[in-house]
């Protein structure tokens, strides 16, 4: 009886949380004249909105840009963080503690503070309107470094010793032993950086002026100021940004949830 109430409460609340996205989905399948109707299921469901934003408004291109930016950033950020984490976890070297606390202290600085100087640097390098501009400034992922270092510390030293006796070089040890054993955390860091860059709207907005380099959210920002009344198209473009990351989440949520909570509590 009491449990029944809990189920009802939870179900209603879950519905409210997801409602905007369900409404977005249904609107993106409605012809524009129907976009403002209160009926949830489209009377005349259509794929026309998606065809139009991809064909007439180049969201296909923006989607590919988003994909390139998020994937390459996730790849390099994870690689750089794993390389650094290995030596922080398993080596003694000059300046180790100083560097690590220096890295961690940068997490206290609000992101908005980095924005203006980073923009200045990118501008001076002549990187405006390039993938480099969107990706490179964020490749030192301190949060990822922290997660990976914590994890790599727990790997047994004996494995590394054994490999060294067998004549493996430091890089081989990293590649053949450390990386495979850290796979779950590497997946976490990769997914979190991918998500960060998929959603990195403000930065992508300020380093792109050329329409060809827009990512999905930047394209959406421009589209909505030009076509306020094309609701169905706006919702189709939003769907294009939300659905891929939502699907990735549904299949890999364990990594997302663990990574985000661990980082928050210990970080």
């Amino acid at each position: 009886m009491k449990k029944g109430i809990l189920y009802i409460l939870l179900t209603v609340f879950t519905f409210i949380v997801l409602f905007p996205f369900l409404w977005m989905l249904s609107t993106s399948f409605k012809p524009n004249p129907e976009a403002l109707s209160l009926r949830f299921f489209p009377k005349h469901p259509t794929l026309e909105n998606f065809k139009r934003i991809i064909r007439d408004y180049s969201f296909g291109r923006y989607f590919i840009n988003s994909l390139i930016v998020a994937t390459s950033a996730a790849f390099f950020a994870t690689l750089f963080a794993s390389l650094a984490s290995y030596v922080f976890a398993k080596k003694e070297f000059l300046g180790k503690r100083v560097l690590f606390s220096l890295f961690l202290s940068s997490m206290m600085v609000p992101g908005l503070m980095f924005m203006i100087p980073q923009f200045a640097i990118v501008y001076r390098f002549g990187w405006m309107n390039t993938y480099r501009a969107m990706v490179v400034p964020h490749l030192a992922n301190v949060f990822g470094l922290f997660l990976l270092t914590q994890y790599m510390k727990t790997l047994p030293d004996s494995l590394i010793e054994a490999a060294r006796i067998d004549g493996a070089s430091e890089f081989q040890i990293f590649l053949k032993i450390i990386l495979p054993l850290s796979a779950p955390v590497i997946a976490t860091v990769f997914l979190l950086t991918f998500q960060f860059h998929w959603n990195n709207f403000l930065w992508q907005l300020i380093v792109t002026t050329s329409e060809k380099m827009y990512t999905v959210p930047v394209g959406l920002a421009m589209f909505r100021s030009a076509h306020e009344e094309l609701y169905s198209l706006k919702m189709a473009a939003s769907t294009l940004s939300i659905v891929p990351i939502a699907i990735i989440f549904l299949f890999t949520q364990r990594y997302f949830i663990e990574g985000l909570t661990r980082g928050a509590i210990k970080g």
Binding site: Y7, L83, F93, S106, L112, F114, A120, L260
Partner: protein
């Protein structure tokens, strides 16, 4: 020594990016805040040294202080509401319920989505007079003007959208801590005749105090970096008249900073960002103080 050399080889890519794009900017932002753009055709070349003028101007800038107040108001609404919602959800989902993992994932999902895009979707739902939320409220007899275009309701409407988007994260944090509370404490409470409410009131809440505090602090820091939700949903508006001055009723500090940046007042924007840094450090310091006091 050999170790130091190889170690730095491994560190090199990370360190290089860190120095250029994270360490250097902290100093460069300060340098910028001491300068102002004079030549719009040569933004960074033609900067003029102005010393502390930007900071002095900031202290007397009513629009800045207004944005500061709006940010605090945003924090004062969204943090308690967010904590209440996520804590309640966590306590409920900590029970042995069927499908609890499905509920948990569904509620967590919006947290990982782009704030800006989620803001666009909510703007559509809130829009006046045809947005689905506006019309549903009207149907049940609540006469409302445009939720996002009326000064009194604009900010609370953004709060509702953001609390619903982010409560899954708080919920997961609370759930993780709830699972660490020893069963024996609840049993002791039961022995003393406590029911479900007493267990929450006298066991759960006192034990989770540090986490509540932590969430308040990250909430405040989050409010001071809030930007995309307001950029998407209100653009800072609607205007409101206070005394004989016109202000923007949802222009938080992050948005005001962006507006200055947009107009290429880079030095001024940098001085705002430095002020934000000190606000962040102050709150983090307060947090660490009160955390320490608990353990003494």
């Amino acid at each position: 020594m050999k170790d130091t050399l190889t170690s730095y080889l491994f560190l090199l890519p990370f360190l290089l990016i860190f120095l250029v794009f994270l360490a250097f900017p902290v100093f460069y932002a300060f340098y910028l805040s001491m300068h102002e753009v004079r030549d719009l055709t040569d933004v960074f070349g033609g900067m003029e040294w102005v010393g502390f003028k930007n900071y002095l101007k900031l202290m007397r800038d009513a629009r800045f202080w207004w944005s500061f107040l709006i940010t605090l108001y945003y924090a004062a609404l969204s943090i308690p509401l967010g904590i209440l919602v996520s804590f309640t959800l966590a306590v409920i989902l900590n029970q042995p319920l069927k499908f609890r993992n499905a509920y948990r994932s569904a509620i967590f999902l919006p947290y990982i989505l782009d704030v800006f895009v989620v803001g666009i979707v909510w703007t559509f739902l809130y829009s006046y007079p045809y947005g689905v939320i506006t019309r549903l409220l009207m149907k049940i007899g609540i006469k409302i003007p445009g939720l996002l275009s009326t000064p009194g309701t604009a900010l609370p409407s953004v709060v509702v959208a953001m609390v619903l988007k982010n409560c899954g994260f708080g919920m997961v944090l609370f759930l993780a801590s709830l699972q660490n509370i020893p069963r024996s404490l609840y049993e002791a409470c039961e022995v003393d005749g406590g029911g479900a409410w007493e267990k929450v009131r006298f066991v759960t809440i006192p034990l989770l105090k540090p986490l509540f505090l932590f969430m308040v602090i990250i909430g405040i820091i989050g409010a001071f970096s809030a930007f995309a939700e307001f950029y998407a949903m209100t653009g800072g508006g609607p205007a409101v008249i206070v005394g004989n001055k016109t202000f923007l009723s949802t222009e938080v500090t992050g948005l005001y900073l962006y507006r200055n940046f947009e107009q290429l007042k880079l030095g001024y924007a940098a001085s705002i960002s430095y002020t934000l840094l000190f606000i962040n450090l102050a709150f983090s310091y307060l947090a660490s103080l009160s955390m320490r006091r608990r353990f003494v």
